[in-house]
Symmetry: D2
Amino acid sequence: MKYGPVVPPARGSLAVVDTMKAAVKNAPAPGRTELRRVPIPAPRADEVLIRVAVASICGTDVHIYNWTDWAQKRIKVPLIQGHEFAGHVEKVGSDVTGVAKGDYVSAEGHIACGRCEMCRTGNAHVCRTVSILGIDRGGSFAEYLAVPAANVIRNDPGLPPELATMQDPLGNAVYTVESANVPGKTVAIFGLGPIGLMALALCRAQAASRVLAIGHRNKYREELARKVGAREVYESNEGLPARIHDATGGEGVDEVLEFSGSEQALRQAIEIVKPGGGIHILGFFKATPTVDINEIVTKGVSLHGIHGRLMFKTWYRMGGLLKSGNVNLRPILTHTFPLDRYQEAMDVMVSGDCGKVAFPMER
Amino acid sequence: MKYGPVVPPARGSLAVVDTMKAAVKNAPAPGRTELRRVPIPAPRADEVLIRVAVASICGTDVHIYNWTDWAQKRIKVPLIQGHEFAGHVEKVGSDVTGVAKGDYVSAEGHIACGRCEMCRTGNAHVCRTVSILGIDRGGSFAEYLAVPAANVIRNDPGLPPELATMQDPLGNAVYTVESANVPGKTVAIFGLGPIGLMALALCRAQAASRVLAIGHRNKYREELARKVGAREVYESNEGLPARIHDATGGEGVDEVLEFSGSEQALRQAIEIVKPGGGIHILGFFKATPTVDINEIVTKGVSLHGIHGRLMFKTWYRMGGLLKSGNVNLRPILTHTFPLDRYQEAMDVMVSGDCGKVAFPMER
Amino acid sequence: MKYGPVVPPARGSLAVVDTMKAAVKNAPAPGRTELRRVPIPAPRADEVLIRVAVASICGTDVHIYNWTDWAQKRIKVPLIQGHEFAGHVEKVGSDVTGVAKGDYVSAEGHIACGRCEMCRTGNAHVCRTVSILGIDRGGSFAEYLAVPAANVIRNDPGLPPELATMQDPLGNAVYTVESANVPGKTVAIFGLGPIGLMALALCRAQAASRVLAIGHRNKYREELARKVGAREVYESNEGLPARIHDATGGEGVDEVLEFSGSEQALRQAIEIVKPGGGIHILGFFKATPTVDINEIVTKGVSLHGIHGRLMFKTWYRMGGLLKSGNVNLRPILTHTFPLDRYQEAMDVMVSGDCGKVAFPMER
Amino acid sequence: MKYGPVVPPARGSLAVVDTMKAAVKNAPAPGRTELRRVPIPAPRADEVLIRVAVASICGTDVHIYNWTDWAQKRIKVPLIQGHEFAGHVEKVGSDVTGVAKGDYVSAEGHIACGRCEMCRTGNAHVCRTVSILGIDRGGSFAEYLAVPAANVIRNDPGLPPELATMQDPLGNAVYTVESANVPGKTVAIFGLGPIGLMALALCRAQAASRVLAIGHRNKYREELARKVGAREVYESNEGLPARIHDATGGEGVDEVLEFSGSEQALRQAIEIVKPGGGIHILGFFKATPTVDINEIVTKGVSLHGIHGRLMFKTWYRMGGLLKSGNVNLRPILTHTFPLDRYQEAMDVMVSGDCGKVAFPMER
């Protein structure tokens, strides 16, 4: 794959002096991503410019790549995708304080308004006017990107960039696992994609009593779950509740973490959770499921919708969890490609035979 | 209505010396409740015998009376129904301590096993082997009933029996309202039956910012809501979310309390609740509803199934709330009948043109 | 009292075109506050200029007036004191969005850094580098003041300015009372100054079971407590625990709110609180007290230090509480003076025979 | 040491047929514990008789052995001490259900009334009329002991008795650590006795970011802390806060766990904890300390008294934590002795050069 001619930058830049390599989605159709040289974005007064060390691919990037219904409604091309990354600050805007050139950083990709009730009460992650890196403005599949200084997270120097780039999805997993308060509890995890695997690593790191990892017709990921530390891996099917019933002496599980977006999983979650337990949902559902509300009521169960991660409570907690040394994150990074091999990276993502796929940038 | 001949008592009594008036469901069919003289139950070693001062009718009693599907599966006749009451201890079992003859009491109707994980961790209300007064054993539509001493609640002497009998359903409302932590919040209440009205009184008593009371084709209850203290009463229909959107400046509500068991209500609840808000469900749904889980996830909303009330944390809190003087409970008691007029009382309940209906016992 | 000659403005203004009346503490000694005409401050790019409608006096202002040890260490003269106020936006800085000229507003007086861990995790109120209106920069005892737009709170149009100015201390009371989760509980309040009285109003508004209001040799304030809604007022002395023991049937109280800063009060709080209860402390102690930690441990009690109010969760909740109509705030505003009579206002504050004292500005 | 003549059993037994070995404190003075053969206690109707497999020594047992002020007030001799143990059910009382002969069990040592507000609301651990095994009635330093069936805990078959006996103090540690919610946080632990070491193991098991283990002039225990998993061990002295300040980049710690009972430790805890942080105290203080309440208030810190462990929520959570395999408990058991060598065991305890000391019973 070669880099094409220089094109105007994605929305928002001010002045341009140099160019950079970038993967640009340039037409409203499946695929259609080209490697190009584009102008390096110029940070605004309250932004910083970051030189990307490693970027990584989120499931959302596959939605955009595949041009799904959601992408068709939300995305405006041309767009540099990507919101997961780690890198170093190259330049700071004129009003920026507290971040300096050379800082080793990642960033929260949700850019919230900062003024609404949600933003002012610790719920900026559900601000109604949020815009997102790599979705609503230029992202990290490039040598540089500009982000608001308020969104920058300073990384621990001991955390290598190929793990630091995973903090965005890890934050989702941390927020979900924290919602379930897992130490000492039996936890079932539906869905063994990268975030499900991260949740598994976190549950093991925090002394969950037992973790039941439930996959769906993907031997690669079930095997990966074992590498991450699963001692009990289940294949999802109609007989699952009976098997979990037996495995738990009829008690069921304290908490369920749902990352699969499957109606069957949600139904089974309600069946296997103990009275008084919790179901924590991050998964995205293709169709609106029916839910046995009477069973939820009778068992006194709570169902928590989990969106993004807290800005920035979850990031601080995540930094601490990584520093503990307990979180077995490395096996989840299964593939790396130079940005030039963008197409191969996306092919691996689409196949599902992978954990996290990353782009270390050449220097 | 006359009292029929003496019949053997409902399950569990030991010895019989005297008889009492009781309303006995005596055939597995709709209606079929007869007033009879039956033996006064003899309390076991760990039980007390209570002389009923006032009993009241729960919606569950109407299910049994109407012999609905649920009743057909659960109920064994003959049965003395009723789990709501207030009265005085007449006799105590040989092992009972801490309760004495003459005590003015009510009782928690859920009789839990006391040994399982749920019972030992403050979740006895969702014990899997619970049995319930007036459903699984003889209840309060009689001059006397026997209950385990562990279930007895001592009433405040200043609380009149016709209000004290309402504590069982009020406990449901207290537990739901406590789950929503309403002080200073905007709350929508779906369903204006007795428990919905009690929740309304509790929200007003605890300084909820605004309470949107939402009824469904029942002018009597909408009027009753105003008497209880509602300043904003809505009629449930398809246009409701748009009206609430306007009434809240587009913000929606902080919390929703759902007592209606209506799929439309649940759908609208998800629509009108703010990001980060909560939906607290006590209602029983006739059909399994579809639920827009993606919206719950995107908004970071939690959905709490509420069952019964905490044994006995909710009871202590409820006693305190009643003592505050802020809870406008009295308007909710709309009808009283002597037990002899059981049929009339049930007719009023079935009509829906009522709040709570009670049986003061003649002395 | 007359307004003196024009002096340079307090720190931070940029350009000056007009002058305003202000009460200026102009020497590092007790008293020494003069009424002057000073330049109207010019808001910076991220600030707004507010025309004050009503300002009010905090106990902290009395500390500055009296030039206590704390004031000597913290305050630099000349200073326009005051952080409590309500008014209207007169001018907005060039970068300000979301606040417009004419808006009816108050403001959070703590100006936090916005970048530290505390600020980014919902704890801006304990940011280590906080600066405070009327303490570290010019305040509200003037016709105008400039505040950062991020600190502005939009007031409900139905809330009159003489009550809106009380929101800053009311926020302290709301945060303390929220920490204690009072609905249905028995609460003891030590200290019947303005914040203690506000806490009393809030406890009554939220259906606390009983509120024991405990004053100290100030008949005026004990009487005021009754006007606010206290039904049980106690005089603080050595015999207090015994009287509370009797009044609560030996049970004690669920929660204690401490606003008095008295070692005796803290000792008695630990004595009268139930096992498992909470003590919530806002009071400032002149001397470091001894604390019976063993009793706290044996009873499983928690002791919560309450500082300021959450930025801005408490403000939103407070707005909702005021809108409920349950909070009987008005009796607490006992005196108003024009700013010209600053000296009289301070004399009343120092006497202690008052609730809140306010300065409505003449128009 | 030899077993003396048979004496009457400690309070409560009914009928006696056989005798057992026991260590009996038989005079109100330091030491004075004799090995004797005493009657095996007969369980009452609601009790079970347990054959002890392993018992272990608590610091409280040393207080009784040394006949400290506390012991002089509380203890009535003769007494069989000991409340930590694991064993097998030998006989069940006539009313007991849910526990059977041969069950592998331990027991909660606090025997609560079961009827008061505390007991009925999940706070039985602070019931005012609690009696305790080995303190108020015969305990586990014997071949058999009788305990109420309600207090029995079924042990996981995979948990060896020499670890299962440590669950009583481990429960203290679990409750303290759970109060601090440590995953991802920096935690300081004052006091490296057995419970402090257990808390250290739990913090490491649950992915605390960093654990600062602070000992006091006991090289043995500091070395033991490293074996349990400490990477940062500090010696307590006046310079400690400065060293922690440096080690945390001036930030301090999120949570402090206090097990030392030292006034200096409490003072330093308040100094090193971050704004908004928590101090969780289980330690017993010889003298009433002074506490800088103003600093607690200014920093918005909470101070939690921790008593015992929740009955029985903590036990269930503890079982799950042990099952996770993350808790490195074994190094904490440093010495075992047959009961015949009771004196040697106590000597080791008094020396402080030990972790937990246990008595495996001979078979």
